[in-house]
Amino acid sequence: METYYDPKDLKKFGKITEFQKELGEKYFEYYGAVFKDGALTKREKALIALAVAHAVQCPYCIDAYTEDSMEQGCDEEQMMEAVHVAAAIRGGASLVHGVQMMNKYKDLSM
């Protein structure tokens, strides 16, 4: 079945340099540097990436960072907590606008 997302396309990610070599290579160099051990461990970065993958709803990133989180020694509980962090921030981002709605409501009300 043809779909917009094909899991096989994840392996072709590196080929984006085919259409724009310089920027693509710069991106991958930067990407590699970001995920190295630094002030944050690789494991912490994998969990952040997993949470962000869910927030931006990127199926490729979800596959990639589920596997990466497992290879960094995370278990299912830790990974689901990371997803809840994403959900809490996304939900909060909607709900906090409720204050704006309340302000406007009050402005327009007697």
């Binding site: 596997e67 290879e71 278990d75 509980e77």
Partner: protein, 349 residues
Amino acid sequence: MSEVKSHISLKAQGNNFSEPDYQLELLHNAGLTPFRENLERSGLQSFATTGLDVFQVNVGKMCNQVCKHCHVDAGPDRKEIMTKETMLQVLNAISKSTCKTVDLTGGAPEMNPDFRWFVESLSILGCKIMVRSNLTILLANPKYHDLPEFFAKHKVEVISSLPYYSAGKTDAQRGEGVFGKSIEALKMLNEVGYGQENSGLTINLVYNPSGAFLPPDQNALERDFKDRLSRQYGIVFNNLFAITNLPISRYLSYLVASDNYNAYMEKLVNAFNPVAASNAMCRSMISVSWDGFLYDCDFNQMLDLKIASAKQHISDFDPTEFSGRNIIVSQHCYGCTAGAGSSCGGTTA
């Protein structure tokens, strides 16, 4: 493919994955770069032993557990057990060799009826003894309850699998209730001094992935394990070895059944690390099977790939004959050379 039953060995089920030829054929027909070719590209045209540091002796395939990833296909129904006669041949070989480090594995080595006699004999020879204990055996029967004291008496280094510091992942791989019993056994070992500072008694844990993925960084994981086991259970241990699952026997069967085989093999091949290959454990060990035959490692033993020598039995052991011998390699060897490398002592690169 026939349904895999979790409580009996593949061999007892008559499953194809218990057959070395079937496994080797599957591995060879996966369309991957031959392992030998990758060695050659890395300047390791001659892949031979560099010395002999360890006699790894598999004293039998009998085990009280039936772990899903077990490369030995061990279990309660396996009756292959090393006899005292073969043990005497091993002792004779060790006495002729300068190598005095012995790594006892199985199955559950403690289930061999002559296990204690063998350890005592090795101890008299002045050997450094390692035992790969599955932990739960210490609680399996009252006759095993004093094993921690026995190990301590002979300064045995205990090496035990614990795939995670929580029950879910551990039990998924090693069987229901294994985590809880492993924690109890670790407490018993700690109580007699294992893992305690300045006790001279070493307990090392082994992590291996509970699924179709590669192990994490060994040092980072060791920190997590130490922190969690100490905080939650008051358990201490010395080192954590992160080991990659090799695509043979039950783990190979799992990979195929779960449709992870091609991706996992591709991952291993892409992660080939020449440094890990150069430091592979097979370059400085010899593996002895329950019936006394010789192999370059325990994995080759399970695939029945005997050493490249006219003398393939421990009764023929001659130290000069065995140094510099060519190592038998095949596609499963990618498991020891991926990423940071993998050996019975953890990472190699």
